[in-house]
């Protein structure tokens, strides 16, 4: 559905997006993840035909954003980071205007607006002025304007930006409810949120794609080996040395210094939990727990970004 081929964007001499390529299949919800300034919004703007790429091209539904932007515009719904709302208009009139702007046939406008309002649950504010709406409702109207013409592709730039926790859950449910009806590409710098909404994640750093895949694929790719946590009452003599001598153990450190019970964090290249358990029991230590420590999402993200940065520095 979306093919991005070696796309770049320069702002003066600064490269905001650097020869980026990826594909998104029909019906997928894909998240662009990156820190501020990673190039997420620039990519979405180019896909939305709001910006022209400096190099490369992107195709949506077979149409090039360079050669046939109007055909692309007919297929997409776009929500920028700030919803494009006219404060003096009422919700229904605004969606009516957008529907006409997006080529919805005149006799279908009412029906399409009603569907968009129903999907985004805007019924209670249908006749309210947009200036009077809360941030959450304004974001909903922003999504409604993006899908009022029933586009095949939805481009959502930071849809949960500035929402409170309840509104975030509502927005997540709303985006998930669009699955299957639209191909969705959204951006966020909040990793935990993007993993809950998206089928696949594209991780960006300084305009480049540094990782791509599902959450578990990214976890696998980012963590070199795994970390085993062993909790014991007190280490016995020779136990730590015996574990250290195991083939595949890279390092051992104490999780909580000078505290009982003792927590050992063992970095291994493969899963050595059976061997570690055997050594601990044989040495007479009282084992309280043994488990694989999952990397925190934020740590995972930083590893991905940092790893790419280091690679580039040395490369």
């Amino acid at each position: 559905m979306i093919e991005v081929r070696s796309i770049s964007k320069f702002y003066a001499n600064k490269k905001a997006v650097d020869t980026l390529s990826f594909e998104i299949h029909e019906g997928e919800i894909v998240g662009l993840l990156g820190l501020n300034g990673a190039g997420k919004s620039t990519i979405l703007k180019m896909l939305g035909c709001f910006l022209v790429p400096s190099q490369g091209d992107a195709r949506i539904g077979g149409h090039s954003v360079l050669e046939n932007p109007n055909a692309v515009r007919k297929m997409i719904g776009y929500l920028p980071d700030t919803p494009p709302l006219y404060n003096e208009m009422k919700t229904r009139h605004y969606l009516d205007f957008v529907a006409h702007l997006k080529n919805v046939p005149h006799d279908k406008v009412k029906e399409f607006v009603a569907i968009a309002m129903q999907k985004t649950q805007l019924g209670e504010v249908a006749d309210a002025r947009l200036s009077e709406l809360s941030h959450g409702f304004r974001q909903r109207v922003g999504i409604a304007q993006a899908l009022v013409h029933q586009p095949r592709v939805l481009i959502l730039d930071e849809p949960i930006n500035g929402l409170d926790p309840i509104q975030i859950v509502e927005m997540r449910d709303l985006v998930l409810s669009l699955k299957g009806q639209h191909t969705v590409i959204l951006s966020s710098h909040i990793l935990s949120e993007i993993t809950k909404t998206c089928d696949r994640i594209l991780v960006l750093d300084r305009g480049r794609l540094v990782a791509e895949g599902t959450e578990s694929q990214l976890r696998g790719g980012a963590s070199r080996g795994l970390e085993v946590m062993l909790e014991i009452e007190k280490p016995t003599s020779g136990m730590i040395e015996a574990i250290q001598n195991l083939s595949g153990v890279e390092s051992i450190r104490e999780g909580r210094r000078n505290q009982q019970p003792v927590q050992l964090l063992i970095q291994c290249s493969t899963d050595l939990r059976p061997e570690i358990a055997r050594i601990a029991v044989e040495s007479g230590a009282a084992v309280l727990s043994l488990g694989k420590k999952e990397a925190e999402l934020e740590t995972l993200f930083l590893k991905l970004v940092k790893g790419e940065g280091e690679g580039r520095t040395h490369g």
């Binding site: 964007k9 702002y11 620039t42 703007k45 939305g48 035909c49 709001f50 910006l51 022209v52 109007n70 515009r73 007919k74 997409i76 776009y78 920028p80 700030t82 494009p84 709302l85 006219y86 404060n87 003096e88 208009m89 205007f97 957008v98 006409h100 702007l101 997006k102 080529n103 304007q145």
Partner: protein, 242 residues
């Protein structure tokens, strides 16, 4: 054409829902009325045609200020509030957007001129003027308005905010106003060029006395066309540069 009218209609309704339209119309009509009574009618006896000529003279000045105020928000506000994204990501061209915006401001300006008709109508109470003179003067006002609106629209496209757009629009308009003065200070062929480009003195005066020259109509239409095209090109460039 449907898209141009769609954009123009939304803009027109925005003038009235935000009160800005009412305020500009009220202020312009109030000042026109005061100037009409104080200077166009005045104390000394005058021919009706002179009263009408003076009315058009004062109306043209107020009309130019109103045209600037009506137009500076057209695209500067869209850029400031971020609503311009809506147009860039919709299947409409920059030309449709600019023409829709221009049409809305020009129609608003036309409403101002229509509402001012009661002033010259007062001349009929105690005097006599030809309908041709009236028609010519109003045609001149509408053409002059189109020129100033297109200049202000261009300023609104290139300026980062409404204030800057206002300053820029006023500056360009004043330069075009003063070109006839500059023309007296330079030699041929610049004298003729500056005289030709002057937006008011040599161009509007014939309309205000009831004389209609095709060349003056062509001037105002070409001025409007030039700045509308410049606005379209600026918007296209903006999308390229980001």
């Amino acid at each position: 054409m449907a898209k141009i009218w769609l954009i123009a209609r939304r803009e027109l309704s925005a003038y009235f829902t935000t009160w800005m339209g009412y305020i500009i119309l009220f202020a312009a009509l109030l000042i026109e009325g005061l100037l009409f009574n104080a200077f166009a009618i005045g104390d000394a006896p005058k021919f009706s045609s002179d009263v009408l000529k003076d009315f058009f003279y004062y109306s043209s000045g107020i009309g130019m200020v109103a045209a600037v105020l009506l137009s500076i928000r057209l695209l500067a506000e869209e850029k400031q509030s971020g609503t311009i994204v809506l147009f860039y990501t919709s299947p409409i061209s920059e030309r449709q957007l600019v023409l829709g915006k221009f049409l809305s401001a020009w129609l608003m300006y036309a409403i101002l001129q229509i509402l001012s008709i009661y002033l010259p109508s007062l001349i009929f109470l105690e005097g006599k003027v030809s309908l041709g003179h009236l028609f010519s003067g109003y045609l001149g006002l509408l053409l002059l308005g189109a020129g100033v609106i297109s200049i202000s629209l261009f300023a609104s496209v290139i300026a980062p905010n409404q204030l800057m757009a206002g300053v820029l629009a006023a500056a360009i308009t004043v330069i075009f106003l003063l070109l006839w003065l500059v023309s007296y200070k330079v030699d041929t062929p610049f004298r003729e060029v500056f005289m030709y480009m002057s937006i008011h003195n040599e161009r509007f005066r014939p309309f205000s006395v009831g004389v209609l020259h095709i060349k003056d109509c062509v001037y105002y239409l070409s001025l409007s066309w030039f700045f509308i095209e410049a606005s379209i090109k600026s918007l296209e460039t903006r999308r390229l540069q980001g």
